[in-house]
Amino acid sequence: MEKEDLKNKITELLPSATFEEGEWLTVNVEAKDWPAFAQQLRNDDSLFFNYLFCLTCIDWKTHLTMVYHLSSTRYRYNIVVKSKLDRNHPEIETASKIWKTAEFHEREVYEMFGVNFINHPDLRLLILPDGWEGKKPLLKDFEDPVNMIRL
């Protein structure tokens, strides 16, 4: 399936999706559409995106963007799904029920960006020490006067 076909197929599934150009097809979805859309991406027989190989978040200072890199081990095509989140109350449905690897990656995003994953089975700090308080380290306005060295 070529990029165009993939685009048409996804438009069919989710008419509100917008697309970006890039190495891989990039789909922008609303956070509220994400859970249903993710389920479709995983279960639709002609898409079958069963391999979530990267999950991360970007802090754009005005908003946060969740980035999901998906791949299909059956058809070997890749797709990037992005979702804008409100920076003050970032919330999105968890993907860990669909791709189990998301459980760890989402815990990392939770502690590094403060994104609240709804219905996540075990949303706790993973890398940061227990009882960490204050700003989330990977946000752009994080300041640590002791450990951060500005070049």
Binding site: T56, T73, W99, T101, H105, E108, I127, L128, L151
Partner: protein, 384 residues
Amino acid sequence: MYRQTEIISDDSESPSPGGFGEAGDLIINVGPQHPATHGVLHLVITLNGETIKKVEPHLGYIHRSIEKMCESLTYRQFIYVTSRMDYLSAHINNHACALCVEKGLQLEIPHRAQVVRVLLDELTRIASHELWWGALAMDVGAFTPFFHAFRERETINDIMEETCGARLTMNYFVPGGLMADIHPNFQKRVKEFISLYKLKIKEYDELITGNIIFQNRMKNVGYLSAEDAISYGCSGPTARGSGLSCDIRKLYPYEVYDKISFNEVIENGGDSFARYMVRIKEMNESIKIIEQLIDNIPEGDFQAKTKVVLKLPKGEFYSRVETARGELGVFIVSEGGTTPYRIKFRSPGFSNLSALDHMARGSKLGDLIAMMGTLDLVIPDIDR
């Protein structure tokens, strides 16, 4: 700070404060200081007798926030930090970063540099697997193989030292090619290594692979089905041991991997022994790649002409390479400046570790150690 470990007594009404474990369970900390974790991994294990009920990894003991550090380093500088992630395949880490920057700059690198990069990648892969082999044998209680593995690994390290000037964190790949040309002795010494290696690899099989105790410890232990491997995002030998074809070198070839012939090693067992065999066979495949390339290093520049200050255009760039442990992805978000706006390393160990709990449940404590050995966890790679 961390949960104190204690035997949960029968009379306690509620489960333990952490919310896990029933009466009679033994909660035990493996790590952060433990001979089997090869670093500072911390696993909280719920045991019933010797049987594992739950494994919960606690990470972050060697977390340096490399992603945050890279945001204030230029595109030339940040590569040096990445050698410290998966320090056993430092070359391949550097390679992923260099590829990503080159992708952004749309830089065509000289053929000579491509071939040398692949050669060094494969040497690194062998060195990494050698160490893994020794460490795995140590995990299952055989101490001798470690020294045998290091004997060959030293030879590789010597080759690296001669060409790159370093033995562990090489920093030899730069955006645009190589930092310097290869040492005149490089080809000769690599050929020497190949003949030595072919002689010694037999010893490995005689000492460990064919050993009945080792086979009993490895077979039917730590089963990971192909579906679970996909779902947990496993990659590299861990996933290939479950029958999943996921070699980035084959699927999304970079450099000259599409021009050389080698096999993607896939085993369908899904158990520890399958993962073990994948790595053992992969070493032989790497030797095959090196043999094809070592006499065919083309003449020419070792570095493309690049500007002194690199500036990536606005956009997002993702590069993926196959490290010794699996798929390493580098995701750079650029705003057009001299430093990345956001960088994400998709490290193979992090995803592979997440499958450990699923694999270990129901098996014995000794098996867990063997499983961790076959997952080939490098803790700085997991924590970043």
